[in-house]
C-alpha cells in the first residue's frame, strides 16, 4: 500500500518554462514533507521541505505547495534549467519524535529539461 504516490513517472519541459511535479499522500498523520533530487550514481540530495502548518515554502527557483485537505503537494521549478534534469522524490514524515528521520518516499518522477 503506497502511502506516498507520484503518479507521473516522467515529465518533459522546455528550458525556461515551469516544471510542476506532483505528489499525493494518504496518511493523515504525515506532518512534514520533503523533496529530494537524485542524479544517476549519486545519493538523493535535499531540495526543499514544508511543514503541515504552512501551505507554501519558497527557496530560489523552487516552491513547494501543500494542500492538506486534498493530501496533495507539488514542487514548482521556475525557470527550469537543463541541470534540473534528474529524478525527483517526494517524501513524508509523521509527527512526533518516534518518526524522526523515518521517511516514506514516493516512486519518483524523472524530469527532463530540454535546451
Amino acid at each position: 500500500d503506497q502511502q506516498v504516490k507520484q503518479n507521473s513517472p516522467s515529465l518533459s519541459v522546455q528550458e525556461g518554462r515551469i516544471s510542476i511535479l506532483n505528489c499525493d499522500y494518504t496518511n493523515s498523520m504525515f506532518d512534514y514533507f520533503l523533496w529530494y533530487k537524485k542524479y544517476p550514481a549519486e545519493g538523493p540530495t535535499f531540495l526543499i521541505s514544508i511543514s503541515s502548518i504552512k501551505d507554501k515554502n519558497e527557496d530560489g527557483r523552487f516552491t513547494v505547495f501543500l494542500n492538506k485537505s486534498a493530501k496533495h503537494l507539488s514542487l514548482h521549478i521556475v525557470p527550469s534549467q537543463p541541470g534540473d534534469s534528474a529524478v525527483y522524490f517526494c517524501a513524508a514524515e509523521g509527527a512526533g519524535g518516534t518518526s524522526y528521520g523515518k521517511l516514506t518516499f514516493g516512486q519518483g518522477t524523472i524530469l527532463t529539461v530540454h535546451p
Binding site: 506516498v4 507520484q6 512534514y32 520533503l34 550514481a41 549519486e42 545519493g43 538523493p44 540530495t45 535535499f46 521541505s49 511543514s51 522524490f89 517524501a91 514524515e93 524522526y100 528521520g101 523515518k102 521517511l103 516514506t104 518516499f105 514516493g106 516512486q107 519518483g108
Partner: protein
C-alpha cells in the same frame, strides 16, 4: 555530503552468502538510517539507529540486521543474500536545525545478488 562514506560502492555476490555494507560518518551524527531504492518503490527504510547500540527496524527489515558499536559506523548485514535483495542501498544521517530536519544521503552501494 555530510561526511558520509559508504563501502563498497559496488558488490556482486551469490545467493546464500553473507554480505556486510558499511556506512561511516565523520561528524558525530547521532541518527543514522539505511534505505534501499528499487524501481517503482522509491526509497524504503530498512533499519535505523538513534545512537550507539540503539537500533530498530524499518519498513522492510526482513533478511537484514544492523549494528552500531561506534557512533561513526553503521553496518548493514544480509545474513544470507537473496536475489530480492539486489538493490541500491543508501545510508543517511539526520540533521535538525530548529523545526527543520533534513536527511543527508551517502552515494550508495549497488548490490547484485546472483
Amino acid at each position: 555530503d555530510a561526511g558520509i562514506t559508504q563501502s563498497p560502492r559496488h558488490k556482486v555476490t551469490e545467493t546464500g552468502t553473507p554480505v556486510t555494507l558499511r556506512c561511516h560518518q565523520t561528524e558525530n551524527h547521532r541518527y543514522m538510517y539505511w534505505y534501499r531504492q528499487d524501481p517503482g518503490h522509491g526509497l524504503r527504510l530498512i533499519h535505523y539507529s538513534y545512537g550507539v547500540k540503539d537500533t530498530d527496524k524499518g519498513e522492510v527489515s526482513d533478511g537484514y540486521s544492523v549494528s552500531r558499536s561506534k557512533t561513526e559506523d553503521f553496518l548493514l548485514t544480509l545474513e544470507s543474500a537473496t536475489s530480492s535483495q539486489t538493490s541500491v542501498y543508501f545510508c543517511a544521517i539526520s540533521l535538525r536545525t530548529g523545526t527543520n530536519e533534513k536527511l543527508f544521503f551517502g552515494s550508495g552501494t549497488q548490490l547484485s545478488v546472483l
